[in-house]
Symmetry: D2
Subunit: 356 residues, 4 copies
């Protein structure tokens, strides 16, 4: 009810602040007898880990995950899986200066307005550090989905620079620091980001996540449509301002016949001749790739001074030093993948519940 | 769990199919002693009602709502409010032809894949007729929000034709059949829609919903962020493919300083100098207008023949006659308003629960 | 959240007041393609129906159930099933006298204290009439459980007069107006109830519900134990003050070896040599009969005058005329059965969700 | 959904096994700015801690609780409170012998039947050690309830030996190792328990929990009645087989006038002349003391050999050595108090949500 968890049958609840002793989550509903160890989770955390390139924050966190429960002799038992990640490089002193200030674009003012108290150290509960717990939960979700369902994300736009979709190559993803599927745009992004940082500024980005191998039939009409849950999942990620499924906002400009994903039988199977629907019709998966896209706003912490107010009602100027990602969108790729995975795992179990 | 309800403390659960005897919903959690009668609900239903102009379906439904419970001597009692709307003009015969066919863009194939059974009459449970129940629940939500919070929606794009935002005028909304805030574009839309229909085609649209007067502090981090719940709410509406908050997808192209909504004290109050955030930071309302936008795909039922398959695995051609909206986006305006209202009413009560 | 529903995957939400136009419920999560019609539900409602003997209230309700949604061509579709039962014999005039009074033992004072408003007609939302909706939902649950799982209830005590368990005979149940499994005690009960009514008094009762054929493995530790959910289910029935599983409260007086249900292999199957556990260990079904028991307090509406207060803070005397069951426990038997059925149906689906 | 949590607005989710590295819980929904530290929680854990007298298990656990999140500068922030208790004295070797055996009365067989895997060490997830997490959550709940609401539990029966209620003295509770309110029965209980242990047996018990100072109006009809939630809360505690509210099962034998809690105005306040209702009418608190009672079955682990089967389908004899409480009911007292506190805290916030 207080909004710290996501999912129904497969559900995880996260806790922890940026500068507390640790963060973590409790993952519930995982079927029993699934092989699971820290080694299944760690690689995904490493993808999201800060400091992996010069384009992300230099905070040093090893992000080692510990399984505290729910696994016995290498297998899930059906009991809740408690995952813990220690905070190691929290420099709370960095934040003393802003403890009474409301930084524009951050949740400082709104947390204060809501709770009348605010853990200002590193953004407290509102820090993107929380997303590490999502990634850990997503790794468990992937084990439930199995090998036949593949969830992959890509960064498709940084600032005004979008990839050329015709050059999309999944194998390029791991060969650059941006999870970028278009190898040719990488150098442009590098120089754009270097300039952005030098200017004391920041930039936004767009992430696209695909899930292939998803069987037709997942999703619960009416309110827990697969796309509705994906929209919530993605929009719940820090700094996200828009979510699209398939053709997305552009669907508005299409005609009925342009938008229609026609069907034909092929090898005894229903196949679609296009995928404007992003793999979802009436909230239920069609068997095509699920395609979700989301926009991340530019990092709010920038060097350039901005006008703001403090909690005493005084006008101030805020200029954020600290260690920040010039483009938080980069590290949002593994987070978006994780959210896709948890939504699918939940709906897989939900479908099994009602439809066997 | 089977996805027929929305909300937590303020929650509604809908039921009913397009061609069943009736549709309806059960609204739970409304505070007691709120004046409520059918007259508070009917006007909103009338806005959504089919047949109100030549640009919507000609199905004739009076959409009279009946309150069956939860109201005593003109006031809510705290008990669940059961609302019922009879189906009057269901011509199921129209649908005999498609009972074994999967219409492209519709939920026909996915419902079949999921349930192995499908009420094909008028789209069954997947029909946009379900949204009447949302509008009814939204009307109750408005009563909870009170007069200080105003929820208004507008159609801002039909097909490729977007309004000019500089001409935005809320008073224009009720003076045209499109809920359009830009009076000058109306004739262009009329002729575009007339052509679209003559061509046996259809078109998409974009709707924008504003809520003003919302106090700062509503929304539950982390997963039930106000924007996350709005994203789910809007994406759950039939045919929606994208949802944006504030700057939306365009935030990706902005720099940190462009995107920052700076703050200043004004008359003793925190005020924002821009609203790229759409009134939400860290998932919590800022006190500015809440701004949500969503894209509706073109109506899937078109006269132009489309390739498809039937449930026997045969390739077919589908051409939909029946009575259909050439642009379902128009009637989505009151639905989007309703979903905004229910999200806000729920979060108002949730906030009161935890924060008093 | 406002407490009008029960269950998770199989879930029903009830609405309606004693003297409103109708009562009903929305049943969600029923698997698709289960044959279902009003004829599957009506017989269970008839068992609970008032006026079926001289020992129950003489209110005349035909309690005809109508299926408004979720069933197509005789089968469930997976969509919510809306069930409606009209109120026919509501004599609200009878209640004018008590509209400002708080009747002892009733929810009059507490509803007033909670909501500041109260539908006093026939007890409003607090009326046992609400249990008809439970019975309807229970009938759907039985269809999900199938024929292999049999849910049966019996009245085992009226006032101080308990049955002799050695004479337990399920076939006797339908041969007397009490659902009594001990044919010999029936005449004693009849005369006891006649005296009770003549004295303007009322009496309590104990109901026992068995479910046989339940497979081992149902129930979710830790908080949604099968017995915990049964306890909630039974305690939620009007006037219930105690719930027992298996040996129940008497387990306190037993020694470890007396209480142990020892096990032996028999025909290749695990069998238990006793059933003090009531078919549940660690919150999970053992495969034995599930045995739940609950006590219903005496009807609060009695002719004998009782001291009370009214809503103006005045001391008063209350003597209830109207049409009342001298022992509401009798009609609680089909209600207890229904609650057992809904709990089992939900846990059957929940088990399938996580464990396949 | 997998049953590891309890509550709605105030909600806690527990995790951990008896012999894993730690157990813990995540507490959500606590209002902000409540003073909270480990020192507020530890005393309640100490009451439940094993080894505090010769009548409880000799497992040595310091049960030190650690707050990992949700508290900043000594106050709750509104964020989830993660509580962790390390397991220190887990002797898993003790359990090697029973790893393939199903101990009668334990959850061994049912966990196996459900999950096909079982952490047999110390009972795994089914161990009563989990109740430490409940007590920790209960301590947070007490802080929400404040000083005006007092929750106290007592042991009122061990085996066949019930206290004399006329001698009830709350101050006696802390003066004996049984939380017994009847000082005179203590020596009888001591010798009874000594004999029980010498005989290699065990015994059951009855606990009664009172909450005073609860305002009228808490509880949500129909299904989340205050008593229904209490019944679930208490029945979810390990080994509980029966729950009563007020007069409980004995209400069945009463007449309407005996059972009626008559009312009179006293000092301008509604007062009740008796409390058979246990402080709850129609599922809503009356303002009287809330009174709940539950029976705990005898400890299943006894020295006396019992017939059972193993997981290979072989008949065996089981005799449990290890370190066990001869009467688990004793340590259930603080657990029952905790469950009362969490139910009340949740309903306090729920009431505030809907009724302001």
């Amino acid at each position: 009810m207080a909004g710290n968890g996501f999912g129904t049958i497969f559900r995880f609840t996260t806790w922890g602040e940026s500068h507390g002793p640790a963060i973590g989550c409790v993952v519930e509903g995982a079927p029993p007898r699934i092989p699971l160890s820290e080694a299944d989770i760690q690689p995904w955390l490493d993808k999201r880990r800060p400091g992996s390139s010069r384009f992300t924050t230099q905070r040093k966190e090893s992000d080692r995950v510990q399984i505290l429960s729910g696994v016995f002799e290498g297998q899930t038992t059906g009991a809740p899986i408690s995952l813990l990640i220690a905070n190691e490089d929290a420099r709370s002193k960095d934040y003393d200066a802003i403890k009474d200030q409301f930084r524009p674009g951050h949740a400082d003012y709104t947390y204060w307005a809501k709770y009348g108290i605010r853990d200002y150290r590193g953004g407290g509960r509102a820090s993107a550090r929380e997303t590490a717990a999502r990634v850990a939960a997503g790794a468990v979700a992937r084990k439930i989905l199995g090998d036949a369902i593949v969830v992959r994300g890509a960064l498709i736009q940084i600032g005004p620079h979008a990839i050329d979709r015709k050059r999309w190559d999944w194998t390029a993803i791991d060969a650059n620091p941006f999870f970028c599927p278009d190898a040719q745009i990488v150098t442009k992004w590098e120089s754009f980001l270097d300039e952005t940082r030098k200017a004391g500024s920041s930039t936004g980005a767009i992430i696209e996540v695909h899930a292939s191998g998803v069987p037709a039939g997942l999703g619960e009409p009416i309110y827990d449509k697969l796309d509705a849950d994906l929209a919530k999942a993605m929009m719940s990620i820090n700094a996200v301002k828009g979510v699209e499924i398939g053709a997305g906002m552009a669907a508005a400009a299409l005609s009925g016949e342009q938008n229609a994903d026609e069907m034909r039988m092929k090898g005894g199977k229903v196949t679609f001749l296009a995928n404007n629907a992003g793999g979802i019709l009436g909230g239920i998966s069609t068997g095509q790739d699920i395609v979700a896209r989301f926009a991340v706003k530019p990092t709010s912490s920038i060097l350039k001074p901005l006008r703001s107010v403090d909690r005493f009602g005084k006008d101030i100027e805020v200029s954020t030093k600290g260690r920040h990602d010039p483009c938080v969108g980069i590290r949002a790729v593994p987070v978006g993948e994780a959210m896709m995975a948890v939504v699918l795992a939940d709906h897989l179990l939900r479908h099994r519940a009602q439809c066997g």
